[in-house]
């Protein structure tokens, strides 16, 4: 269909049929003020702020639901329109408490801004205002009814965006109020989407309320350190303290989406249990020591063991940066001379890359989940385990009517929108997928998202199935943590080096390391393998880089206090292979980033494996790791650049038996979750997978 021609404020505008007047105006830089209209959510035309004059229409019209028409003449700044806006604001303010000086939203409130720009200078209202006491609906969500302007944004984002539908409106007229799903409290995802989308200070968060004025913080855009989805989160930092996390500027792959972890579970950073000094075992007990003492103790031990040809092993992290992982494996291989390096593997990425050898464009991006016509989810409770991917798929369904298929071991939220859902028995996923063949064949294209149920040979079978459909198929191999994918790509593996290059002499794998009775030195960086396993070697000298005194750290001879992801620079790679930049928001006294710790140890040992600044290491990664030759400006400017696949045979067996998701829910996050008060304080924690919809 051809474009429609109209005139807005004297300017000729061309817009696609169906475009709303408010958006057509935006195209030519004319802003029509609005409260209830929100991009991506259904229009409700509740606030009347967007009234405009349209020629030949007797009354003012709402620009947020009126589509453009041929020859339409719109005026957005006529005296009538300005008068109407003034009136709308006056009505919105009749019962508004105007407690801006103590309101959390003060300074970033849309009602303040609109009143400033379009409102009347004085109020004619002298009647008593209706007061309703503030309510706490959960540790996270607070509600102040008098401030609410009933724009329904919160109701819609919870229902449409989150698929939770926990908010509604009770009573009528001046008494109408937003209400939570359990009369006086909420049982929901606790994501805080409703709070951030609220244009006024009606919904506020337990983490942030009454802590600061917004202009007292500085804002640091970085990547959430919890799950593998890689959401951009903007940390509000004041005096070296993170006060809030959100993404209101909608930058990054996730727009404004964040789950409870990205938005609120940054509090582990300030946990009183945070390690802030190196510790050295003296007479059997760990004692705080200086960095110099700890570094020299480790360097001496490593040198001594290396000199006598002793046995080393390293377990790396799913949370540390690509630079740190790369540097760690380089340190292990070059400085220690060992290939016994591994990490907790949560998905079979190497086998997927092997199976896709020779294909291009077969790895889906997070954007593909929003744009592709059909999605098949196998073996994952996506809304629990991969909240942002689930959000993308929900939006795809709402905006593009995408066809969704699920094959899961229990009920999942995605079922509500699925054209077909199969309850499978673990181990039978592939048979059940086979039964979808005819339906999938009829789709124009497909993205297959699969969890740890599909690994090893199963991945090859799945890709063969995808090939046989005769349609373009893309894949996402689900992994758990913020840099699980990067750990795999950077070669934290006994058989595969960076970029999945085979290693000539393989070292010990995860289970073999723990079982080796003759280990001399065991270095663990940001992982907690001893939570569930014992270390067989009693004589092993154990070095641990950690934020907390975990089970593994308790066994250490030396503990280095590590910086968290929010305190460092570098890059991480998300579940879809998208590389994004971490930006340090603060420093926690006494800690150091793992990259620096490894660098300092090698320096102390007198070994040079290269400069340990994050940008120099990233340069090396870009030139030497397959797939990472990504455009620098994209990453440097805070964007996401997808790595290219290996496109060749990935030789080593992926040891499917070692691959296991930790089955974190929305309210757990490996060891990190234990130290986040917010995560453990909500009623829904720890939650479970495949538990169906909450009542």
């Amino acid at each position: 269909m051809s474009d429609i021609n109209l005139t807005i404020d004297g300017q000729a505008v061309k817009a696609a049929p169906g475009t709303l007047v408010i958006n057509a105006a935006k195209q030519v830089g004319i802003e029509i003020p609005s409260f209830c209209y929100y991009d991506g959510l259904q229009s409700v035309a509740a606030c009347r702020m967007c009234l405009v004059e349209i020629e030949k229409t007797p009354k003012l019209q709402v620009a947020c639901t009126t589509p453009v028409a041929e020859g339409m003449v719109v005026r957005t700044e006529s005296p009538t329109v300005r008068e109407a806006r003034k009136g709308t604001i006056e009505f919105l303010l009749t019962n508004h408490p105007l407690d801006c000086p103590v309101c959390d939203k003060g300074g970033e409130c849309e009602l303040q801004d609109m009143t400033f720009r379009y409102g009347a200078g004085e109020s004619r209202f002298v009647e008593q205002k209706l007061h309703v006491d503030e309510q706490q609906w959960s540790p996270v969500v607070f509600f102040d009814a008098p401030r609410c302007i009933l724009c329904y944004r919160c109701v819609r984002v919870c229902d449409e965006g989150m698929g939770v539908n926990a908010l509604g409106v009770i009573n009528r007229g001046a008494h109408a109020e937003i209400a939570p799903n359990h009369f006086d409290h909420l049982e929901c995802d606790e994501c805080g989407m409703c709070i951030d989308i609220c244009p006024v200070g009606a919904l506020t968060s337990g983490m942030y309320r009454y802590k600061t004025r917004p202009w007292e913080m500085h804002h640091v855009g970085t990547i959430c350190t919890h799950c593998s989805n890689g959401c951009k989160t903007t940390l509000g930092v004041r005096n070296n303290q993170i006060i809030r996390g959100n993404n209101r500027d909608q930058s990054g792959i996730n727009g404004e989406f964040l789950c409870i972890k990205g938005r609120y579970a940054f509090d582990f950073v300030h946990s009183p249990e945070r390690l802030q000094s190196p510790m050295l075992r003296k007479n059997g007990a760990l004692e705080p020591v200086s960095w110099a003492e700890a570094l020299s103790a480790v360097a001496q031990k490593l040198k001594e063991v290396k000199a006598r040809g002793g046995k080393f092993a390293v377990i790396g992290s799913n949370h540390t940066t690509n630079e740190e992982n790369y540097y760690l494996q380089k340190f292990a291989r070059e400085a220690l001379g060992t290939a016994s390096i591994d990490h907790h593997r949560t998905g079979d990425v190497p086998t997927l890359l092997d199976a896709l050898s020779g294909k291009t464009g077969a790895l889906a991006t997070t954007d593909d989940l929003y744009n592709r016509k059909a999605i098949l989810v196998i073996g994952s409770d996506l809304s629990q385990q991969h909240p942002f991917l689930a959000f993308q798929i929900r939006a795809n369904y709402r905006h593009h009517n995408a066809h969704i298929y699920t094959v899961t071991a229990g009920p999942v939220r995605e079922q509500k929108q699925a054209v077909r859902s199969i309850m499978t028995i673990p181990g039978q996923e592939l048979e059940d997928v086979e039964s979808l063949r005819d339906q999938l064949k009829a789709e124009p294209e497909l993205v297959i998202v699969f969890g740890d149920a599909i690994k090893g040979d199963g991945v090859h079978k799945l890709v063969a199935f995808g090939d046989s459909l005769g349609i373009p198929v893309k894949y996402v191999c689900l992994v758990d943590y913020s840099n699980s994918r990067g750990a795999s790509d950077m070669g934290l593996s006994p058989r595969l080096g960076p970029g999945y290059r085979p290693v000539s002499e393989p070292g010990l794998a995860y289970d073999e390391i723990l079982a080796a009775a003759d280990l001399d030195v065991f270095w663990v960086v940001g992982a907690n393998p001893l939570k569930q396993n014992a270390l067989a070697s009693e004589k092993a000298f154990v070095v641990v880089n950690e934020m907390f005194l975990t089970e593994t750290a308790l066994r250490a001879d030396v503990v280095f206090p590590a910086a968290s992801a929010y305190e460092k620079n570098g890059t991480v790679t998300n579940v879809c292979g998208e590389v994004q930049r971490l930006k340090a928001g603060l420093q926690v006294m006494g800690t150091k980033p793992d990259l620096e710790i490894i660098g300092l140890v090698s320096k102390e040992m007198g070994i040079n494996i290269g400069i340990w600044t994050h940008d120099k290491v990233f340069d090396e990664i870009r030139t030497s790791v397959h797939g990472y030759n990504i455009p620098l400006p994209i990453v440097a400017s805070g964007g996401a650049a997808q790595t290219t696949p290996v496109n060749g045979h990935v030789p080593a067996s992926s040891r499917p038996d070692l691959i296991q998701s930790s089955r974190d829910t929305l309210f757990t996050s490996g060891s990190l979750g234990r130290y986040s008060k917010t995560l453990s304080s909500v009623l829904e924690a720890p939650g479970g997978l495949y538990s169906g919809e909450r009542p």
Partner: protein, 160 residues
């Protein structure tokens, strides 16, 4: 929650009289009839209606708050509703309401301590031709004067 056999039968029939997947249409009548039997709309009742109509309790709560004939607070055995909308107002509806308030000793939306009467000022009840009009539970009374009202209340008191 269970109701009397008659009401249960009524609900069963009600749920069948809407097209498949439209059980939510039964929310309003179910609330109304259940309120008559239970006396008011409790949280428990809201949850029960939600379960039967396959909607969330909050969705039922939204309906309850919207309609003024659905009451969350226990009403008196006789709910006296005095119209003070325009036709009745002209014919003395306002005075009638004040009088009812004095006679019963309670204000708008209040219940007598013995739980026998409750009073509510309501909008037009569609009996304008016979203004001022009042409604006691489901019974209408027309051309009501303060004396007539006192007599009605007296009779009801004696019956109790």
């Amino acid at each position: 929650m269970t109701f009397s056999p008659e009401l249960e039968a009524r609900f069963a029939k009600m749920l069948e009289s809407y097209p498949p997947g439209r059980t939510r249409s039964a929310v309003v009548p179910m609330l109304l009839y259940a309120q008559d039997e239970v006396g008011h709309i409790s949280h428990e009742l809201i949850e029960e209606v939600a379960r039967r109509c396959k909607v969330t309790p909050l969705q039922v709560d939204e309906v309850v708050g919207y309609y003024s004939m659905l009451h969350k607070k226990p009403q008196g055995k006789v709910h006296v509703q005095v119209c003070t909308n325009i036709s009745c107002l002209i014919d003395g509806g306002e005075e009638l309401f004040q009088h009812a308030s004095k006679t019963l000793g309670i204000g708008n939306k209040e219940t007598t301590p013995d739980g026998q009467f409750s009073l509510e000022e309501v909008e037009c009840i569609g009996a304008c031709s016979w203004a001022p009009a009042i409604q006691m539970n489901y019974d209408f009374h027309h051309h009501v004067t303060p004396e007539k009202l006192d007599k009605l209340i007296d009779e009801l008191r004696r019956k109790q």
